[in-house]
Structure formats: C-alpha cells, structure tokens
C-alpha cells in the first residue's frame, strides 16, 4: 500500500524518553541511593511513509504508549528527534496549521470525552481551536457531516457522552480527531477497551477512513491479531526498545526475534482448541533496572554469553530489521 518514493510523514530518529523516578532528594541522600531513571523509551528509530500504517506492539510497560505521546508532542524526547513531514516536531507543534495535521485517538472511550460537554462541542473543539470555520451554522453542519462519516446521526450532537455506548463514544473520538482534517493519526490502543464485536466495527471504520481520506496511522496495540488486520509494517517493542521492525505479512510468516515468536506463541487461538502450548517463561523485568546486554536474555531460549553482555542493535535481516545476536549469527 505504501507509495514508493514519497517522503515519510513521520521520522523518529533514535528517540529516547527517560523519567526521573527517584525518591525525594532528602530520603535519597540518607538512604545513600542513587538517582533512578525509568527508561520508558530507550533509543528507537522508525519512519512512517505517507498513507501507510505502522503498528507498535508489546506488553504493558514496553514504552509503546510513550512513543505515541512523544510523536504528538505530549512528551518531549530526552534524546533524539522526531520529524513531522520533514520538519522538527517542536517547530511543527508551534505552527497551528502544522499542528492541525496531526491528531490522536485514545484507548479509554469513557475518559476520552469531557463528560460535561455536548458531543457537538466536543467534535467542534478542534475546528474552533484552529479557527477552521467561523460561522456557527457552518460549524454545526461540519459536525453533522463528521458524525455521519463515523456512523452516527447529526442529531446525536445534542447529547452528552454518557448517553452513548463504548463503541459509539469511540466513534465520537474519531469524529473529533477528523474534524481538523488531519493527515496523520496516532491511535493508542483504540479498541482494547471495547468488546470484540464492537472492536470489529471500529477497526473496519478506521480502515475505511484510511482509504477514503488517505490517512497515515501510527497504531499502538498489545494485540497481535488486531495489528495484523490493520498494519503495513509492524514494530515489536520490549522494555523501551524496538526488537524487530518488519513488513506485516513477513512478521507473521517468519517472525525472527525470539521475543516476537514468544509473543505469537502466547496468544490463545480459536483454532488451538484443547492444544497445550509451551508459554514463554519468566516475567517482564522492571524498566528501571533492565538486565544488561540484550534485555530479553533472561527469558530467551537462544541466549548465550554474548547476549548477556552486549546490547544488540537493529540490523537488516531480509526485508526486516532485527536486534538479536542469535538472528545475526544464524543461531536461530
């Protein structure tokens, strides 16, 4: 689906985001503790060509949501830089015309809409903020159009969010995100709080909107099956790092990184009725005290001495990029 030759909508260059989670200075001095840093995102790079979808998957605490917030400017990167349409993100965010080109859709349909506002005001907020339309009537007409576009009725605008179900609220969120005519949408687990039949509705709607409006998506999810349905390319994250970045089909046909494989193995599947699986052992370590070397080595069946010491970097492996010594050495 990607358009060859066109400039990427988004480039993320070696971006890191660290959080200071130290105790108050007094306690730290007395207990002789050192400053503690949570490396939520620890140097990752990727780009998203215009009109395509890149998905980031991983377990909770792997930093995927932090990436989403870095990319829309809710966080500033500790290191590295983000380019939006070739322009530094901080500069792009300062310009309201550029800012209106990016929007975000959130996970929790119950927290993402201001409960005290009418739907029409929620959807119209970006229009008013970016001063896209001045006339009240025109705004109302545009909101009606947007609500129709996401499968609701223009009359729903007069209601309050609590009158809608989770799936309908997510549609309202999407309508709000679309109201500034964005080209780039960051979707942070947009369906994980929804029931599965409603999830299908929302995924179908998002795909439909992408083809119709030529949107570019950064899609964050913990669910590999969902990701498979919407992505052109997929990045797998573990403890703040990308471990594999690969075209979607290739990732599912030939997962390379041991963690990717473990993740796929862990997903219960309808077709596996009664089958006994061998789940990956161990637990996700704390991102405050990550293991040395490759952070996955304590759980990895392929780990050897090198993995315990040397941090692997992303290297090309066929059509994918993988950060694994075993894959590089052909031990997999």
């Amino acid at each position: 689906m990607s358009v060859a030759g066109s400039a990427p909508m988004l480039e993320v260059q070696n971006v890191a985001r660290h959080f200071d989670v130290s105790k108050p200075i007094l306690q730290r001095l007395i207990a002789r503790e050192r400053r503690r840093t949570l490396r939520a995102v620890d140097g990752i790079s990727f780009d998203i060509p215009t009109g395509t979808t890149l998905s980031l998957v991983g377990e909770s605490g792997c930093g995927k949501s932090t990436v989403a917030r870095l990319v829309v400017g809710l966080y500033r990167p500790s290191f590295g830089r983000v380019l939006f349409d070739g322009q530094d993100l901080a500069e792009a965010r300062a310009d309201s015309a550029q800012r209106s080109r990016m929007q975000m859709i959130f996970q929790d349909p119950y927290a993402s809409l201001n409960p005290r506002w009418r739907v029409v005001d929620i959807v119209a907020e970006p229009i008013r903020a970016f001063k896209l339309l001045k006339d009240k009537k025109a705004i109302l007409a545009r909101v009606g159009e947007l609500l129709t576009q996401v499968g609701l009725s223009p009359l729903d605008g007069q209601k309050y969010p609590h009158e809608f179900s989770g799936g309908q609220r997510q549609r309202i969120s999407i309508a709000r995100a679309l109201s500034s005519n964005p080209e780039f949408l960051v979707c942070d687990e947009p369906t994980s709080a929804l029931d599965v039949s409603v999830q299908a509705q929302i995924l179908n709607l998002m795909k439909e909107l992408q083809t119709r409006l030529g949107l570019t998506y950064l899609f964050i999810s913990h669910n590999l099956a969902v990701v498979r349905q919407v992505s052109d390319r997929i990045g797998v994250m573990y403890l703040g790092k990308l471990v594999e970045l690969s075209p979607a089909e290739s990732l599912f046909e030939r997962p390379r990184h041991p963690y990717t494989r473990a993740l796929m193995e862990a997903i219960p599947d309808l077709e596996m009725t009664g089958r006994q699986r061998i789940p990956v052992g161990g637990e996700v370590p704390s991102p405050i005290t990550p293991p040395p070397g490759c952070t996955f080595h304590p759980r990895c069946p392929l780990a050897n001495e090198r993995c315990r010491v040397e941090v692997p970097v992303m290297k090309p492996a066929n059509d994918a990029m993988v950060a694994c010594h075993a894959v590089e050495e052909g031990r997999d």
Partner: protein, 323 residues
C-alpha cells in the same frame, strides 16, 4: 450427577426507575472436573452469574427466583454462616485484578494459613507446610523463602498465582474464575492459564471460567455458554461452538474476532451494541442486531432449544422457522 446445577436463575436490581433484570432464566450445569467457559460482552451478566453462585451478589442485587444446587443441595437460600462454610471449602473464587484482591497489610503466608485453618482440621504448623506446598504448585519460585513476603513484593503475574493458591488451598470441588487473566500481559496470561488448567485437571476441580476472551475459552474449556443481555444465548461443546456456532449472535461474535493467521480486508461485524438492561427489546433481545431476524423474534422470547450440536435460544431452530 452434576456438581453444580443452576436452574432458571433470575437476578434483579431494584433501582429508582424500576427493577432491572440482570439475569433472566439462566440454566446450566457443570459436571465434576469439567471446565465450563462463560463468554459474552461486558454487561451480559457473566460475572453476575459467578457472583450469584458464590453467594456474593453486590446489594441491592438479589436472586429473585430460580435455584442453585451444589451436589443436589440448594445453596442459594442458605443462611450466611452456612454459605460461608461452603465458600472457599466447596466453591473457590478467583477475581480479575491481582493487585487489589490481596490484603496489602498481611503476608501471603498469613492469608493462606488463615484460609486453610478456617476450612481444614489442621494446626497452624501443618497449615504453613500446606501453604508452602500450594505456593510451589502454583509456580512461585523459592516458595519457602517467599511465604513471608507481602503482596506488594510480588509482580502482577505472581500475585495472581498467589490468588489461585488461595482459591484452591481448601481443595474446593468448583472454582469460579472471573476474568482471571484479563489484567495480565499476554505472555504472563498464557503461563497462568496453562498452570490453572493443569492444576484443575490434576485435582479434579471443576471450573467456571468467566472471560470475554474467546481464545482463552477455546483453549481451556470443555463446554462454552455464550451470554447476551442477561441470558444464555447458546451453550455447547467448545469445538462445535467455535467452529459451527448456531446462534446468529455467536456466529457474529466468532466472525468479529480478528484472526491471527491471516489478514482479512473487512472483519465480520455485528452492527449496534448490546442493549442496556433498562431497554431490552421485546422478543429476542438480539433482534435489533440480528441479520436473520423474522416476525416471531420480535414477539416471543426464545428458550434454549436443540440446534444440532449445541443448544441455542433462537427461533431459527424451532419448528416452522423460515428456511
């Protein structure tokens, strides 16, 4: 004989705008050692069914009619003290969020010992040994050293293992597990499900596994009950239900699960949403969303009926249904 029988269970919630019927005419049974999966969307009444069975419905909810029988004995109308002796001893329970189900101020050892000595005729010393045994069984490494740790010293997955040990330590015959893995990460979820499955099989414990994750059910359950708007819409053996669901709702549900092994351009979807309890339509509750709806669905409420390999509450399988 069935271990647990639920007959025509009806649970009501009196509110100021009239009485809401949260569970309506729910009937099923669980055989000894069997795993019954209960699936459905949020608000379908699956957790409520579990709460009714362990006798811990949140007030003002109450059982309005119907019976719950454990080994042929009615347990839905027992006085509090008698029911207390059944909870934990005969029926164990596992809740969703391991971060909040353990008392933060007591060591896990104390909580285990307390549960064991409440139900089994053993002294504190023996109970402690048993507790260590259970911690080992649920896969806590170095159980003997860790028994005196507090809940906050364990990770989420480990805490859920402790919760499972607590639910099993008085060796109940039935476990009601309410979304036991929903709060866990995918890779941890797989570990916990595998462990729970093995333990139940080894101990011969029957299980009612409540979850919204069809994949977990498909892997773990022997039979599945699909719930919709407070009723069971279809119940049957897991393989048949997953592959050849008969009820249009179950069919839609299975179709809307994104497959892992292929990419589909458009997922099957059921339009609309499950009705609120206060606005359940007349006739079949699924009729506004049903692609195969016909006259009778709008008027009469279907009971569970034979639909080939499963039992479904759908008029399509009654005599005289349109072809």
């Amino acid at each position: 004989m069935s271990l647990l029988q639920v007959k025509n269970l009806r649970v009501e919630f009196p509110t100021r705008r009239g009485t809401l019927v949260a569970l309506d005419d729910v009937s099923f049974d669980i055989a000894p050692g069997e795993v019954l999966g209960v699936v459905g969307e949020s608000g379908a009444g699956k957790s409520m069914t579990g709460a009714a069975i362990i006798g811990l419905l949140e007030p003002p909810g109450r059982i309005a009619s119907g019976q719950i029988l454990l080994e042929g004995q009615r347990i839905d109308n027992l006085p509090y003290e008698k029911m207390r002796r059944i909870r934990g001893r005969q029926i164990g329970a596992i809740f969703q969020d391991p971060l909040t189900t353990l008392n933060p101020l007591y060591t896990i050892g104390r909580q285990l010992v307390e549960t064991i000595t409440t139900h089994l005729p053993v002294g504190p010393g023996e109970a402690r040994e048993k507790a260590i045994g259970w911690l080992e069984l649920v896969g806590i490494p170095a159980a003997r050293e860790r028994i005196d740790s507090y809940p906050h010293e364990f990770s989420g997955g480990m805490r859920q293992r402790v919760v499972i040990a607590l639910a099993l330590c008085a060796e109940p015959k039935l476990i009601v597990a309410d979304e036991p893995t929903t709060a866990l990460d995918v890779s941890i979820q797989a570990q916990v499900i595998a462990m729970l499955k093995t333990l139940a099989r080894e101990k011969g414990t029957a299980m009612m596994l409540v979850t919204h994750d069809m994949g977990v059910i498909a892997e773990t359950a022997d039979r599945v009950a699909v719930m919709y708007a407070g009723r069971i819409s279809e119940i049957g053996p897991v393989r048949q239900l997953v592959r050849h669901a008969r009820h249009p709702y179950s069919q839609g549900l299975m179709g809307s699960i994104p497959p892992l092994d292929r990419r589909v351009e458009r997922l099957a979807q059921i339009d609309g949403a499950m009705p609120r309890l206060s606005a359940i339509p007349r006739g079949c509750a699924f009729n506004p969303r049903c692609p195969k709806v016909f006259d009778r669905c709008l008027v009469d409420r279907p009971e569970l009926m034979d639909a080939g390999t499963t039992r479904a509450a759908c008029w399509l399988y009654a005599e005289g249904a349109p072809a």
